[in-house]
C-alpha cells in the first residue's frame, strides 16, 4: 500500500516535470522587498512584455542577496539600486560586475523623521504640540524625554538605520558627532518591516517617535512625517555623519552581457526615468485603491503619457498605448 502511494506520488512529480514549458524568454527582476521597486518592476515589465514580447518574473530576496544575484547573472534587471546603501557599489560599477543603464530617480529624501503632530500638534486627534521648536537634528537632546526608551528610561530612543545598510554606519557617526549619546540610545531596528511597524504603530497611537526612514515609500505617503533638518550637505565629511543626507542616486542595472543579448530592452531601460514624487503618487494610488502593482503600472503609463513617450520611440509608444487602452 505504502509502495503504491509512493509510486503514485512519484508519477505525479514526473508528470508535473513534463508539463509543457513555454518557449518564450523570461526576464528576471529583483524584488528586494519594498514597494517602490515592485512598482517599477511592474511598469518596466508591462512595457517590455507588451512591446518586445518577453515574459517577466520577480525574484524575492533581501537587498544584498538580490544585488549579489544581479552580479552573478541570476537576476537580469534591478530597477532600483539604492547606491548609498551598498558599500561596494562604486567598485562594482568600475570593475564592470554589472551594467549600469541609467538613473531611475535621484530626488528622494532620507534621514531622521518625526510625526508632524510632534511639532505642530493635531487638533483633530486632540494632540497638543509636544516639541514646537524642534526643527534640527541637533535640537533632539532638548526633547529626549518625549522619546523615552521604555527599556532604558534614563534616555530617549532614536530608531537608527537597518543593520548592514551603509546609512546605518553614517547615522551612528552622526549620533556620535552630535553627542546624541548623552541623551539617546541608538536603537537598531533589525529589519525594514520592523522599522515600518514601529513608526506606524507609534503614529497610530499618537506617540512621539524619532527614526530613520526614506522616501518614496507608502509609509511616508500614508502618514504625515517631517524630515528633521541638519547642516547643509558636506561631501567630504558626509560619511563621518556631518551634514544632511544628499538624495541617494537610485539607478537601473542589468547583469553582464544583457545589453548585447537584449539591445532593444536595454535601450528602453536606459531611457527609463521617473522621480520620487511620481513614484509616491503611484504608491498612494495602490494604497488608496488596493490595486495590484500591475494595475498601478498600467494606470501610471496611461496617466503619464508625456513622460512615457520620452522613454520610447514614437512608434513603440503608439503601440504601447494602443495595447493598454
Amino acid at each position: 500500500m505504502k509502495k503504491l502511494f509512493l509510486l503514485f506520488a512519484l508519477s505525479i512529480l514526473v508528470l508535473a516535470g513534463c508539463a509543457p514549458s513555454s518557449g518564450t524568454t523570461k526576464l528576471t527582476f529583483a524584488n528586494a522587498g519594498w514597494d517602490s521597486i515592485a512598482f517599477h518592476n511592474a511598469t518596466m515589465g508591462t512595457i517590455i512584455e507588451t512591446l518586445y514580447g518577453y515574459e517577466w518574473e520577480e525574484v524575492m530576496g533581501s537587498t544584498p542577496i538580490t544585488y549579489e544575484a544581479l552580479m552573478s547573472g541570476e537576476i537580469d534587471i534591478y530597477s532600483e539600486i539604492w547606491t548609498d546603501n551598498l558599500a561596494s557599489y562604486e567598485n562594482d560599477v568600475a570593475t564592470g560586475r554589472f551594467e549600469l543603464l541609467g538613473m531611475n530617480f535621484d530626488d528622494n529624501n532620507q534621514g531622521l523623521y518625526v510625526p508632524r503632530y510632534v511639532i505642530e500638534g493635531d487638533p483633530e486627534r486632540g494632540i497638543e504640540p509636544m516639541a514646537p521648536n524642534l526643527r534640527y537634528v541637533s535640537d533632539l537632546p532638548q526633547y529626549w524625554e518625549l522619546f523615552r526608551d521604555e527599556e532604558d528610561p534614563s534616555k530617549g530612543r532614536l530608531y537608527g538605520g537597518i543593520p548592514g545598510w551603509a546609512v546605518d554606519e553614517i547615522l551612528r557617526n552622526k549620533f556620535d558627532h552630535l553627542n546624541l549619546g548623552d541623551t539617546f540610545n541608538y536603537f537598531s531596528p533589525g529589519s525594514d518591516p520592523a522599522l515600518s511597524a514601529a513608526l506606524s504603530g507609534a503614529y497610530e497611537r499618537g506617540e512621539a517617535i524619532v527614526g530613520y526612514y526614506w522616501e518614496p515609500t507608502w509609509l511616508m505617503g500614508l502618514y504625515d512625517f517631517v524630515l528633521l533638518e541638519d547642516e547643509p550637505f558636506n561631501e567630504a565629511l558626509f560619511a563621518d555623519g556631518v551634514g544632511e543626507f544628499k538624495s541617494s542616486d537610485v539607478t537601473i542595472g542589468v547583469r553582464r552581457g544583457f545589453t548585447s543579448e537584449f539591445p532593444e530592452v536595454a535601450e528602453f531601460l536606459s531611457q527609463y526615468s521617473t522621480s520620487s514624487s511620481l513614484t509616491s503618487s503611484a504608491l498612494s494610488y495602490i494604497e488608496e485603491t488596493g490595486a495590484s502593482y500591475k494595475d498601478a503600472a498600467k494606470w501610471f503609463i496611461l496617466n503619464h503619457q508625456e513622460l512615457v513617450a520620452t522613454w520610447l520611440s514614437a512608434e513603440e509608444f503608439n503601440t504601447l498605448i494602443a495595447a493598454l487602452q
Binding site: 521604555e150 548592514g164 537598531s188 514601529a198 504603530g201
Partner: protein, 287 residues
C-alpha cells in the same frame, strides 16, 4: 477542462479588515498592553542586570564546575570553559550576555507557563484536543506573520523578542510534560490511588517525579529552540549575537557571520550539555 487545473470558484478575503482590526485593537487596549510590556521589561532588566553583574571568570568557572559535577569529565569541563572564554577573547562577551538575558527570560517564562499547561493537558482529554492544533500553529506559523502585529502592539525591542521566543519555544515543554505524565505506568497511578491519594497528591508525589526525565528533556528542547530564535529576535531589534549575525548577513561579510554564528553555537552547546546533565543523574536514581 480548466477546472482540472484551476479552482472553479474563488473566495476573496478582506485582509484589510483584519489590518484595521489589529490597529484598533492596539488603540483600544493600549493601557493593558502597556502594563504587559512594563511587566516583561522589569523581569528582563532584572535578569539582564544579574548577568551583567557576574564577572566573566565567575561564569567560566561556574560552567566548568557545573559540568564537572555532573559528568566527572574534567577535560571536557575545561574545554567548555575555554570555549566560553573564547567568546570573550573575540570581543563578543557583552553581546553574549545580552543574548543570554533574552533567552533565559524566555525560557523561565516558558517553563512557568508551559509546565502547568502541560499538566492540564495530561489530565484533560478535551483540553488536549483543543490545544494540539494550537501548538502546531505556534511552531509552524511563519514568525513574521504574527511578529508584525506584535510590533504594532508592543513596539520594537527586547520585549517583543522575548514574546516571539516564548511562542516558539514553549511548545516542547508543554508537549513533553503532557507526554511524560501520560506515559507514567497506569498501575503505579492506580496503586497510589488505592492507598487513598487524591488527584493532586498522585500528580505531585507520583506522576511528576516519574515523568521528570521526560519533562527535563522538554526543558532542554525549549532551551535549544529559544537559542534558535536568536537571529529572528534580532530582526525586531533585540541586541546581541543575533544582531551581529544579521549585520554580517546583510553585508555579505562571510567571516564576521561565521565568527558570531560560532559564538551562538558555543553558547547553545554549553546550555545543551548543562541542561542535559539535569536529566541523567535522576535517570540513575529513578530506575
Amino acid at each position: 477542462m480548466n477546472w482540472i487545473y484551476e479552482f472553479p470558484f474563488q473566495l476573496t478575503i478582506d485582509t484589510s479588515a483584519i489590518d484595521r482590526g489589529v490597529r484598533s485593537f492596539a488603540l483600544t487596549f493600549d493601557a493593558v498592553l502597556r502594563v504587559i510590556r512594563q511587566g516583561l521589561t522589569t523581569i528582563l532588566l532584572a535578569i539582564s542586570d544579574l548577568l551583567t553583574f557576574i564577572p566573566w571568570w565567575v561564569l567560566v568557572l561556574l560552567v566548568i564546575a557545573l559540568y564537572f559535577k555532573q559528568s566527572k569529565r574534567l577535560w571536557m569541563a575545561i574545554l567548555y570553559g575555554v570555549l566560553l572564554s573564547m567568546i570573550g577573547m573575540i570581543g563578543l562577551w557583552p553581546l553574549m550576555i545580552s543574548t543570554l538575558s533574552i533567552v533565559i527570560t524566555a525560557v523561565i517564562l516558558s517553563v512557568a507557563l508551559g509546565f502547568p499547561l502541560g499538566l492540564l493537558l495530561s489530565l484533560s482529554e478535551r483540553a488536549n484536543m483543543i490545544m494540539r492544533p494550537v501548538l502546531d500553529t505556534m511552531q509552524t506559523m511563519p514568525v513574521f506573520v504574527y511578529l508584525i502585529p506584535a510590533l504594532l502592539l508592543f513596539g520594537l525591542g527586547r520585549v517583543p523578542a522575548v514574546m516571539a521566543t516564548i511562542i516558539y519555544a514553549i511548545v516542547p515543554i508543554i508537549r513533553l510534560t503532557n507526554l511524560g505524565i501520560r506515559q507514567v505506568n497506569a498501575e503505579i497511578v492506580e496503586a497510589s490511588r488505592s492507598f487513598g491519594a487524591t488527584t493532586l497528591q498522585t500528580l505531585v508525589k507520583v506522576q511528576i517525579p516519574q515523568a521528570f526525565t521526560t519533562i527535563m528533556a522538554g526543558l532542554n528542547q525549549t532551551l535549544m529552540m529559544a537559542m534558535a530564535m536568536v537571529v529572528t529576535a534580532s530582526m525586531i531589534g533585540a541586541p546581541g549575537l543575533g544582531a551581529e549575525v544579521l549585520i554580517a548577513v546583510n553585508r555579505i561579510e562571510v567571516g564576521r557571520g561565521l565568527v558570531s554564528g560560532s559564538a551562538i553555537v558555543i553558547v547553545a552547546i554549553i546550555l545543551d550539555r548543562l541542561s542535559q546533565g539535569w536529566v541523567k543523574p535522576t535517570e540513575e536514581e529513578g530506575v
